[in-house]
C-alpha cells in the first residue's frame, strides 16, 4: 500500500471532469427516439384527405391487450369518409391497455394504422387516455380536405389507388411528404 493510495481514487473522479457528459438532456433537447420507435398510433389518410381506415376491426382482433375498439359504418354518397363502402365510424385506442407491440399495425390491411414517435402520453386521468378517432387521425397536409367529401383523385379507382400520389402532388401535397407524415413532422 503506497502513500498515494488514499487519494488515487479521486483520480477517477477528477478524470471524469474532462470526459463528455453521459446525461441526455431530455426534455430540453426534444423527445429523441429511433425512427421506428413504437410511440402512439396514427390513422393515415389518402392524399385527398379521405381516411384509409375501413373499419375492418382486424387491429382490434389482433390486439393482445384488447385495447382497440372499432365499429364500422356505411359510406354514403352524401357523407363519404373513406374510398370504399365501409369506414371506421368509431375508433378508440385505450392507451392504458396498449402495450405498443405493433400487431395492430401488422394486421391493418390498408396501412391505415401506423405508429409514430410521439410518446409523451402521460395524463392524470384514465378517460383522457382513451384516444378517439379525432385524436388519432393524421394531420391534414396542404391539398388535403377534411372528410366527408367525394373521392378527389382521378376518374376511377385505378387513378385513385395507383396514380394517387402523383395526382396528389398536383393538388399541392408537398413532394417530400407522405400520407404517413405525423403531426410533429408536419409542424416542422
Amino acid at each position: 500500500m503506497g502513500i498515494f493510495d488514499p487519494v488515487k481514487g479521486f483520480g477517477v473522479t477528477f478524470g471524469m471532469m474532462f470526459k463528455k457528459v453521459a446525461t441526455e438532456e431530455y426534455p430540453e433537447i426534444g423527445a429523441p427516439a429511433a425512427p421506428r420507435y413504437h410511440g402512439r398510433h396514427q390513422l393515415n389518410r389518402h392524399p385527398d384527405g379521405l381516411e384509409k381506415c375501413v373499419g375492418c376491426e382486424l387491429c382490434a382482433w389482433a390486439c393482445p391487450a384488447d385495447a382497440i375498439f372499432v365499429e364500422g359504418g356505411d359510406n354514403t354518397e352524401e357523407a363519404r369518409y373513406s374510398p370504399g363502402e365501409r369506414y371506421g365510424a368509431d375508433y378508440q385506442i385505450n392507451y392504458l391497455r396498449c402495450i405498443g407491440c405493433g400487431l395492430c399495425v401488422e394486421a391493418c390491411p390498408t396501412r391505415s394504422l401506423t405508429m409514430i414517435n410521439f410518446y409523451e402520453l402521460a395524463d392524470d386521468n384514465r378517460q383522457d387516455l382513451i384516444w378517439t378517432k379525432e385524436d388519432l387521425l393524421a394531420p391534414l397536409l396542404p391539398g388535403m380536405e377534411q372528410p366527408p367529401h367525394p373521392m378527389r383523385l382521378g376518374e376511377n379507382e385505378q387513378d385513385y389507388y395507383v396514380n394517387g400520389p402523383e395526382l396528389a402532388r398536383d393538388r399541392g401535397v408537398p413532394e417530400h411528404e407522405t400520407v404517413e407524415t405525423d403531426t410533429e413532422e408536419a409542424v416542422r
Binding site: D66, E120, D124
Partner: protein
C-alpha cells in the same frame, strides 16, 4: 403543515402557495415500488444517462416515511395489493402516486383474476403513464407533468374551492414542448 388552514385567506397565501409548491415539487423523493419490467426502466432513469436527480429526486427512498412520490412500476397482483396500500399509508402527507406502465395503470394486457385492474383501485393515482414499459424519457415526462400539477395545488380548503369554481385544470403539455430550448 396544518398552519395554513388557520390563516386568513389573502394575497399572501397565493404567494406562499407558490413557494411551498415550488419547494415540494423540487425535492420530491420517490419511494420505489418496482414490481416488474417497468422497474428496470425506472432504475435506468436514476442512472447517469437520464439522471433523475436533475429534477430534485436525489435518491430512491427505501423507506416510505421519507418518500413523497410512490412510483408503482409493474403489474400489481391481488396479493401485492395490501402491501402496496400499507406502504402508501406509511408515507407522510403530502404524497403522490404515479402509475408507471399500462399494468399499473389499468392491468394492461393482464386482464385476469390475479392482477389488480389498475392501481387506482387501491390508492389514488395522480399520474398515469402508459407504455409497456415506458422508456425513461416517458417517466421523466410524467414526473414533469406531475410537477406542473403539484405547482398548481391549492394550499388550503378555501383555495381548493376557489380553484374548483374557476374550473382551472393543469394543462398536460408534452415536456419536450414545454421545456424546449428557445
Amino acid at each position: 403543515m396544518g398552519l395554513e388552514e388557520k390563516l386568513p385567506n389573502g394575497i399572501l397565501l397565493a404567494s406562499l402557495e407558490g413557494v411551498v409548491n415550488w419547494a415540494r415539487k423540487n425535492s420530491m423523493w420517490p419511494a420505489t415500488f418496482g414490481l416488474a419490467c417497468c422497474a428496470i426502466e425506472m432504475m435506468t432513469s436514476g442512472g447517469s444517462r437520464y439522471d433523475l436527480a436533475r429534477f430534485g429526486m436525489e435518491r430512491f427512498s427505501a423507506t416510505p416515511r421519507q418518500a413523497d412520490l410512490m412510483i408503482v412500476a409493474g403489474r400489481v397482483t391481488q396479493k401485492m395489493a395490501p402491501v402496496l396500500r400499507q406502504i402508501y399509508d406509511q408515507m407522510a402527507e403530502p404524497r403522490w402516486v404515479l402509475a408507471m406502465g399500462v399494468c399499473a395503470s389499468s392491468g394492461g394486457m393482464f386482464n385476469n383474476y390475479a392482477v389488480v385492474q389498475g392501481v387506482d383501485h387501491i390508492v389514488p393515482v395522480d399520474m398515469y403513464l402508459p407504455g409497456c414499459p415506458p422508456r425513461p424519457e416517458m417517466l421523466l415526462d410524467a414526473i414533469l407533468k406531475l410537477h406542473a400539477k403539484v405547482q398548481d395545488e391549492p394550499i388550503n380548503a378555501r383555495r381548493a374551492q376557489l380553484r374548483e369554481e374557476s374550473g382551472a385544470k393543469t394543462e398536460m403539455i408534452p415536456s419536450s414542448v414545454k421545456y424546449a430550448k428557445k
